[in-house]
Symmetry: C2
Subunit: 214 residues, 2 copies
């Protein structure tokens, strides 16, 4: 039950950042919840910024590694590679983390939050983590959807990540746009996401009309 102090700090920071945002969460709130001394954050991590980075590093590396592993397994498996399977390789690891417990739920919410709220430094860190993964998926999708120019694949991946981030960030916290609904089975939602996004990715390209005068 009694974890390491730095682990307790990471847990508390993850929870509070996800609930209130980064700037709105004070080190005093974190150390109180973690039953640690205020100075412990600087002893173990150096600063508040580095604590935030550590919160992400703790889970994101494994998450993206699993995404890549599932994509590779798909391609070397010899079976039929579908858009749905590629999407599942990207989505399932994070949604499974989400289903795994409160901590995973908090972390995925934090992931969604960071996509837009993050400071410059954290954004750079996150981009380094994501770039290889996204490029790899983009390559596979390009092969699967050869009629789509790379530019369109790129944007459709943006839309995909957006829908995903929004879903992460909005549930189960009080919903912004809609009346509160239960999350339902995580698997059901995953099927919904894949159905929706696969259809979007598969849509025929936007035909480039001859440059009209505006």
């Amino acid at each position: 039950m009694e974890e390491d102090t730095s682990q307790r700090l990471l847990d508390a920071a993850e929870a509070l950042f996800a609930e209130q945002g980064f700037a709105e969460t004070s080190l005093r709130a974190i150390t109180t919840q973690a039953k640690a001394n205020l100075a412990a954050v600087h002893y173990h991590f150096g600063s508040k910024d580095e604590l935030l980075r550590a919160v992400f590093a703790r889970r994101l590396k494994a998450l993206n590694a699993e995404r890549l592993a599932r994509l590779m397994a798909l391609e070397t498996g010899g079976g039929l590679v579908t858009v749905e399977a590629v999407l599942a390789a990207f989505i399932e690891p994070s949604l499974r983390l989400r289903r795994a417990g409160v901590q995973g739920e908090r972390f995925t919410r934090l992931l969604g939050l960071a996509q837009v709220e993050a400071s410059k430094a954290l954004r750079d860190f996150l981009r380094d983590q994501y770039t290889p993964v996204v490029e790899r998926f983009q390559r596979t999708l390009s092969r699967l959807l050869p009629e789509l120019p790379p530019e369109e694949i790129h944007w459709r991946l943006c839309f995909t990540v957006g829908a995903l981030s929004f879903t992460y960030a909005g549930v189960p916290s009080p919903r912004l746009l809609f009346a509160n609904r239960e999350f339902g089975s995580g698997l059901w939602l995953q099927r919904q996401l894949i159905r929706f996004l696969a259809a979007g990715l598969r849509a025929p390209p936007v035909e480039e009309k001859a440059e009209e005068v505006p």
Copy 2:
């Protein structure tokens, strides 16, 4: 050139909130950029929170009103109502605001940001603004896609708003996931969005298999 003080405060707040986030922006930074006295914020708006709410209220009311007006015009117009046209009614007013100039760009980015970062109070305010609009669109889509259960329509609208918010929040600021790209023609991006989202909305429902034992 010389605007009202409260207008200059709104402009400065809109710009700085969009760039740095709400908590990270101090009233001193705002009043300095607005060439106003520090106390002016409290004189004109009462508090920092109410200033933020005013920033949203200034443009959001008109934006949502235009969305509703375009949807109504569509339905009473007698012509064929397509999913694409409904999506355009929702998306175009905001993307046009975006194309209109730096201010609109900032505001739409702020909109995307607020979907996830917002404090409790602002979220309530935004929900009040959005709920009637979203419910109205949901009703129209339900009629257009009768094979989809309301629950699925609801989630697909969530995905739609997510993709939209992410697009707003991520452009033109340094992109998180991808190398920087130019925004290109706003119209081109709008066609991309509608093509992608319409296909997602039109996807056949997820068939509910007889409850398998997990």
